[in-house]
Amino acid sequence: MKSFYTWASIAVIVLASTGGDVLLAKAMSKIGDVGLIRQEHGMLAVVRRVVSSGWFALAICCMAVAFFSLLFSLSWGDVSLVAPAAASLTFVANALSAKWFLGENVDRRRWIAAVFVAAGVALLAR
């Protein structure tokens, strides 16, 4: 039963942190190149656009859920399983959701990168 809870918490962390990354990417690509906005309208304009973005607020909420569920599961779960499994699965989940939800062109080069990095993180964080 304990392993069920461990994997359930890994699933929650992966979903929340993928959601956070995808929503943040959505927010920032909608806002546009902040370097150019700063050059043309100043730093205040950048802050105003970011703070008033609904996608950005949602992204922060997801990241907070991911952070606290990681903290929570680390307090009782198997640290050597939860941390690497969550981090490396998040890489693959991010590639999938960037393709589905952001319409990014995830070509073979990016897939290989995601899989290699995910495997590397799993080995590293153990």
Binding site: D21, L123, A125
Partner: protein, 151 residues
């Protein structure tokens, strides 16, 4: 990709990994905290390592958001994954943790993975507009070329 954009990626790598290592160093002073003792985290904010770590992570988050404003998520994530390697090296030399053969193998895999995206384009044409893929690619190349000329 111009020089300014490489600097932003570098900031993500450096401040992200330094932030994590500094937090880890600070929490070593604070000691173990159970979930029922969350209020005990408040005095931890007075620890200089933790304050430095939070500062680094704030810079990391700003640079990460900046990068996502001009690059794809599937480019930024693997390209900055080299930060995991930096964390491993920092924790070896700064926190004196051991790096096993398994971890060196992990470092090698991450470096190979990063190599795969680093040479590729940082913004792909979106699949919704795949009818005009070539036109869009040409236009974005012209655009990024102009950006590089300006800065």
């Amino acid at each position: 990709m111009n020089f300014r954009k490489y600097l932003v990626l570098l900031a993500i790598i450096i401040f992200g990994s330094c932030g994590d290592v500094l937090l880890s160093r600070g929490m070593r002073d604070v000691g173990q905290i159970r979930l029922s003792q969350i209020p005990h985290l408040i005095p931890a904010l007075a620890n200089p390592w933790i304050l430095l770590g939070i500062g680094c992570l704030l810079i990391f988050f700003t640079s990460y958001s900046t990068a996502l404003s001009w690059a794809d998520l599937t480019f930024v994530l693997p390209a900055t994954a080299i930060g995991y390697v930096v964390i491993a090296l920092l924790s070896h030399f700064f926190l004196h943790e051991q790096i096993s053969i398994q971890r060196w193998l992990g470092i090698l895999l991450i470096v190979i993975g990063v190599g795969f995206v680093a040479g590729g384009p940082h913004r792909s044409d979106q699949t919704e507009v795949s009818d005009d893929v070539e036109a869009v690619t040409d236009a974005s190349e012209l655009y990024s070329g102009a950006g590089e000329g300006r800065s």
